[in-house]
Symmetry: C2
Subunit: 443 residues, 2 copies
């Protein structure tokens, strides 16, 4: 390779460097695929004017040729033969919007081995098979970009990989699922019950008919695994992530949070502790003054704390055809720019991860207990906290007839100790019920 | 250039590819320079472990060799001969933290012509001489990165250049000056007067002894010019930016905003209108529900609206040694990665900008008038608005003895029409005083 001259002059041997457009093969033509095809066709001349890159849609791989599509392109572009697309020497770049593991995995491995840069929005695939794909891309020396797989239109991956490449990141907290954030926002602002808001979200198309993947935290868990892998260069997969969803959050939990100037959010939390990484998804009370508390409706945000950069938050649309396609277009243009130079971005190299068990993580907790309202109860309860080294930051007691409700916020404590405290408390005769147990984001 | 094999194999002819560390020359050793030298020395082994890039500080250019420094490095690294640094074949990358136009401009032009990638945090230089520097970098085929010049540790430049490369951006609104945001936050949360908070900010080191550049909007104006240039590929310079500062904002303006569920922020606003660009800095009322309203203290944020990506906001530390150095380190690592491949990022190419005159921009406005409290006044006032086609969105009137205060929020109106309305109003006998005139961010 000639490096004696200016690198950007005379590097015109790559595809797209001779004036012919780079040909993009789009796998899948659902919501995101159609939006991307729309951008690549409708905005083609403005993209070229702005970036100097000419792109054209070469083929669109679909399962059903007769389905009606939200795009205005020649019927000849559609094909069912996706295998032929990833082997076609006339296709320069592959964009995948199919979702799911197979056949996406096999198609993308073939594309990479054939030297085609791959852009994907497939969180499930990256969260489960990332290491295999990254290694294949590295060996082939081609780009594999997946900005759209986490938090849609928000440039989180690029920030972690490039801007923060030298940063010692200690913690990342993300609102990375728009459906659950929409539901929690409605519950907070309208006092509505979970089931009612879920129904509304389903009617609006924000939630699936089977909402499990969203509301039980699986979607956020996959994204947490990807964030952890990219932020720390560790091979964290979806199955490594501890998950609790929002289906058990009640209006009274929301109201309790509000009384304490907090809101409840479903957070993906990724922390580095020495050579271990803790990755979990659960509802948490967030102080109203925290930037994550202000992320409403179906918006997403990722809050990053690093030793030098301090606090950083990236906020935007985490889903939807157009925002996701925008992120993919940014990736396509980066890959195109590298292709023209016959180059590629630094590959992601993952080391084996030591994932911390949830028991060993620590959080502050909000706890609500229903107890008998007689003397000595508080002392008994406090003794249980003390026995497990869980220290109490604040406490409130309200009488309710012959019972009382005591609410606690603990200092940061080991999850195992808090769970032991909860068992201990539920064994006390004076404790009628251990109500809400919600982790709290502390500074 | 050989592009037949995998590009990342066998590209080992660039500096840093043979195992020797890349040698970084740091110009300036103030707050930011010292923080960067600290990261490059203290975190050297972790940076190498994470990125595969070995970096070492080759020289630190300073004016005064005997000044005490906040860094623990060998005294031999310091030199007054900055000219020799940019000509030294043993220095691979130049990092500039001197600030101001000369000698920074001359030094960086020489470094670029000598094929050395340049990383700078110098907003004044980029906002005034960006086109010349970008062209020199493009001709030499080397990287020129300046992430830290706008909004410190927040990866705004990279987002605009890469992630949003294909996006049709319509508007960018930024809180890009931490000093004024600190002052406005204190005024809002504590009801304090501007002069008192300014004094406090000066004591805390958030404001300079001569605060003009911050409080009158010059600093934000330079950053607005850079954002406009990068977002739209247009040569917008500091002098193109219309500026109003915060020194005339009173506690009663802040209180009026609060009554309307708004907060006052100093915003840099960059809009694309056809082939024209509007770039301005002024205080504005921001609705409490807008993400920019929640940016408190000295934090910065940049809110971007694009046709596909919708709303996006990047939030973080806009100044300070460590956050700024973190952004510069990200740039250094990108340049190092390109150097090893004998490559460089796509150059920035600026076209001449048509900058819209402030008269031709439009905003919603908040206006407060003190008027005589007798019949017919409101009709007279309303007639003036009507004469200039400024339509009123909402109005409130409060009696104050024999006078009344009327406050208006207008719909979006042409600046020229609003200014004509204001002249017309102040000519009315019944109008004793045209009080606050503050632009309002509407959806």
């Amino acid at each position: 390779m000639n490096t004696s001259g200016p690198p950007r002059e005379g590097v015109s041997s790559g595809p797209g460097s001779n004036g012919r457009p780079l040909r993009v093969g789009v796998l899948g033509c659902g919501n995101v695929g159609a939006a991307l095809v729309g951008l690549l066709t409708d905005d083609s001349s403005t993209i070229t004017a702005r970036t100097g890159v000419a792109l054209e849609v070469a083929k669109i791989g679909v399962r059903n040729l007769s389905a009606s599509r939200a795009v205005q392109v020649s019927a000849e572009l559609f094909t069912r033969d996706t295998q032929a697309m990833v082997n076609d020497p006339n296709i320069d770049i592959i964009v995948e919007t199919i979702g799911g593991i197979e056949p996406a995995r096999a198609l993308l491995l073939t594309a990479l081995k054939n030297g085609k840069p791959v852009i994907t929005a497939n969180k499930e695939l990256i969260a489960n098979c990332g290491a295999e794909l990254f290694e294949t891309a590295a060996t082939a020396g081609v780009d594999l970009f997946f900005e759209a797989a986490v938090a849609g239109g928000i440039p989180v991956m690029r920030a972690l990989q490039q801007s923060l490449a030298g940063e010692q990141i200690t913690r990342i907290m993300g609102i990375v699922n728009g459906t659950t954030n929409f539901i929690l926002t409605k519950m907070t602002e309208e006092g509505a019950a979970y089931a009612d808001v879920l129904t509304e979200a389903q009617q609006l198309g924000y939630a699936e008919a089977d909402p499990t993947a969203d509301v039980e935290g699986f979607d956020a868990g996959a994204k947490a695994a990807i964030i952890a892998s990219v932020a720390f260069g560790l091979n964290v997969v979806a199955g490594d992530v501890y998950q609790e969803g929002i289906s058990r959050i009640t209006p009274s939990d929301i109201a309790a949070a509000a009384r304490l100037d907090h809101v409840i959010k479903l957070l993906a939390i990724i922390e580095r502790h020495g050579d271990e990484v803790a990755v979990r998804v659960h509802p948490a009370m967030v102080p109203n003054t925290h930037p994550l508390a202000t992320v409403r409706d179906s918006f997403n945000a990722v809050f990053i704390h690093g030793e030098a950069v301090d606090d950083l938050m990236l906020y935007g649309r985490g889903a939807g055809g157009a925002p996701t396609a925008s992120a993919m277009l940014g990736d396509v243009l980066s890959a195109a720019s590298n292709l023209r130079r016959g180059s590629a971005s630094d590959p992601i190299q993952l080391k084996p991860a030591k994932v911390m068990a949830i028991d060993q993580t620590s959080s502050a907790f909000y706890l609500a207990l229903d107890v008998a309202d007689h003397s000595g109860v508080l002392a008994e309860v406090a003794a249980v906290f003390g026995a497990y080294d869980v220290s109490i930051r604040s406490m409130e007691q309200h009488g309710v007839g012959d019972r009382a409700r005591i609410t606690f916020i603990t200092h940061r404590a080991l999850e195992a100790d808090v769970q032991a405290t909860l068992s201990g408390l539920s064994n006390l005769g004076a404790v009628h019920n251990v109500g809400a147990v919600i982790r709290v984001v502390s500074e």
